[in-house]
Symmetry: C2
Subunit: 483 residues, 2 copies
């Protein structure tokens, strides 16, 4: 793990330079959000305050009597260079610059100021996140340098998905969404102008981070394409990287240029880089996390053969459409498997693929069919469509299903990925959450479940090509047995 | 309006043949769900019960002393023909056959039985919905012939979207979802095997239904393609029709054949029919309703020029990508409009398209910009991306925005469609709901908002091609002024 960067995520002490006593100010909210979860020392820095939020404040960072692992700077842009210089004198090696007013202005002055910041950072060996960013959020260590009013945003729980976002606003919106969706985050970092620390640096850190299983990135473009390609190639055989790259179209690229002053570069080049480096490209926010959730909960697939097990015939057809459109197969099952299925199903059910247990299904029809499919050796991924509202499905169905999946999984040589889709309202969502908390990612439509299955296939292919499939699976099994 | 079909949706009295006293039985749940909202007379029919759910029961439909507008049959398939015969003798003209065990079995017996049903219906001039279906749900009249346990499903409120579903399970799942999503439904009908009433019949009815503004269809294939094309062509110049057709792929078509025994037909043919008839094709459940909600709340667009007004730069870029990928434009704004925008925006904001008010925005920066865009005459659709969590956005923002939209709309010759996208958690969703209840459809991602904008453009184009654009707009304006 990159020791230089570790203090951004796991500092023992944090100084907030530009801390404020005014509850509406950024400098107040950073301290407020930090204090909510961070167990280390917090040092507010404000030349005209004795204390902030009940904690002793200091007139400058150099006045702090103890060591400071991380400084968060939120002062007017013009004061940032001198404040950074003080951080250097204090021996602080990790600094997050929240302040805006740099390169993103598109003015000569803004660019000059950012160059100055980089010079100072180099002189003192400081690593800088930002400027013009939200900084980091790490549920496990409680570090939270964002400045949003907690009345308007919820923060997600600890989990195994890391999220790197160039955009602060989008990043924060996603955190809030993730909290509502029940998605756990290992590390969030908002990179802003990326004057020093960039996507590649964070990737290099996360590849060794035991808390991170999947890495998601929102980017509008990277400055050092070779470094990015090299880094991705190192990371993807070990951990999946899912990327949402804005500026897919010429018009989108122009919009990037007009709002950050940076060149987005040709999208075709990015696409080629992602393919060459085995990164999975998502085309929107929902897709980014649909895919990440699948990879965070399920093993990759060793092939492209999908079985669909459904309570509703129509949804089975739509799932078939979606799966096939993405280049996966919905293979015919062998006569043996069909006859086994027929034995456990209702006479009106369809034992072919998609296996349609029908709305008259009882728990055991669905669960016994799942067991047969899991053990068949004829498919590489299973998509479940369990309409919990079916009258003869019991309230214990989800627990029974999870128990069976765990039991059968132990008997398999290679774990078989399972994803689910179910449309519905409150009762359905409640049951769906039980399955997801039990490790089966659940989606509100078959199309989104199919895309998740596709990602499990794509990543499996990539691992096989890199000869790291077995290693990855073994690591997964080891991690889970430790839990 | 087709009088023959009206009694399915607005009967004065309903007989439930096969009503049951057992709370787990279909015949109980149909009566239960009917009694929850239906204000007319309900006649349970059961030869061995005196009363069901506190209502007098009859030994047969012919024993009912009064006229019966609608009969709902839920008896074993083998008894359906004789029961239908009794309905004929009783003079009932509208029958819903819930029972399964007909053509969908794929057996000779099942097919024969369905033929028999059709013969009896013809003899007595009975219109039949089903068999093997859920029947209808009409919030306004309270008719509800579905048989799901209300502990497991919520029913949506009255609204202006009609939903025709071949699949019962999928249809019910969507109703439940719609209730949670706050989508209002005018009429829901589950068609099942379509032995008599089919999509075209319902379309012909709905075209004149004053409660229906948008028609959505889930179908696996129609038997009479010419009738369907002819009907669609009559309906789409008056009301938008959005269709989710399963069996897009060869494998999907095969899955249809195996589960309903019907031939799905070539998907390319359906696609051509939809295009020729101006129906909008959706590729999944979420898309079907994303599009329907937009068309139900907003006018169609008179062109393809989209303005994007955003609080987050990154989301503006992603929205641009999504809009352009769908074939719409994100045009440059005129110097005059740019200079007007610059006057009302913060200096750090971007007055180009996408207009980026930035995270420092106050209410008036966003709302004044919206007014300028609405009045510019340079765009045909506006996509809003209002991150409500931005610190200087007030809690009154949504009300102020809706007031401004209403005020400016009155000054415009042609109403300008507006859709919104915002990602986030609980606070964001609360504010988002206020905007949607105020008439601006809101989506959880810019990609979905872009698709909704695309549909408003496509439908506008179709209306213009049919010379019904003005007529449609005038009807909309008239309807809204009556509300």
């Amino acid at each position: 793990m990159d020791g230089e960067l570790n203090r951004f995520f796991n500092p023992r002490s944090v100084a907030v330079i530009g801390a404020s006593r005014e509850p509406t100010k950024i400098g107040y909210l950073i301290v407020y959000n930090l204090l909510r979860g961070f167990k280390g020392k917090v040092y507010p820095v404000n030349p005209s305050a004795d204390s902030i939020l009940g904690i002793k404040a200091y007139s400058s960072v150099t006045a702090i009597p103890d060591d400071v692992d991380l400084a968060v700077i939120s002062v007017p842009a013009s004061s940032v260079p001198s404040v950074l210089e003080e951080c250097g004198l204090k021996g602080i090696k990790n600094v997050i610059i929240i302040s805006a007013g740099f390169k993103e202005l598109g003015t000569h002055e803004g660019v000059e100021r950012e160059v100055k910041v980089v010079e100072i950072a180099r002189k003192y060996g400081i690593r800088v996140v930002g400027p013009n960013c939200m900084g980091v959020y790490v549920p496990k260590s409680g570090v939270n340098t964002t400045f949003l009013n907690p009345e308007r945003i919820d923060f997600p729980k600890h989990g195994n998905i890391a999220f790197i976002s160039q955009s602060g606003a989008f990043g924060i919106a996603v955190l809030d969404w993730a909290a509502m969706r029940g998605v756990g985050i290992s590390k969030f970092v908002s990179l802003g102008n990326k004057c020093d620390v960039d996507e590649s640096d964070i990737l290099n850190y996360l590849v060794d981070d035991p808390d991170t299983q999947v890495i998601t990135i929102y980017t509008e473009g990277v400055d050092d394409g070779r470094k990015f390609l090299r880094t991705l190639k190192n990371v993807t055989p070990v951990k999946p990287v899912v990327i949402l790259k804005a500026g897919r179209t010429e018009e989108g690229s122009r919009a990037i240029a007009s709002h950050t002053g940076s060149l987005a570069g040709s999208d075709a080049v990015y696409d080629a880089v992602f393919k060459q480096a085995g990164a999975i490209r998502a085309l929107g926010m929902e897709e980014l996390f649909d895919i990440a959730i699948a990879l965070s909960l399920q093993p990759p697939a060793k092939g492209s053969r999908v079985a669909i097990l459904t309570v509703g015939g129509g949804s089975g057809v739509m799932a078939t459409d979606a799966v096939v459109s993405l280049g996966l197969e919905v293979p015919k099952l062998s006569d043996l498997t069909v006859s086994k299925l027929r034995k456990v199903l209702l006479p009106i059910a369809s034992p072919y693929n998609p296996v349609d247990v029908t709305g008259s299904t009882r728990d055991e029809h669905f669960i016994d069919s799942l067991e047969i499919l899991m053990k068949s050796g004829e498919v590489d991924i299973i998509i479940l469509i369990p309409y919990f509202m079916a009258p003869a499905i019991s309230k214990e169905f989800t627990d029974k299903l999870l128990r069976k999946v765990r039991e059968v999984s132990k008997e398999l040589d290679i774990p078989l990925p399972i994803v689910g889709a179910v449309t519905g309202g409150r009762y359905t969502m409640k049951m769906s959450t039980v399955l997801e908390e039990g490790g089966i990612p659940m989606y509100p439509s078959v199309e989104r479940a199919a895309k998740a299955a596709w990602a499990l296939y794509k990543y499996g292919e990539w691992l096989k090509r890199n000869n790291t499939f077995e290693e990855y699976i073994n690591r997964l099994i080891k991690c889970r047995s430790l839990q």
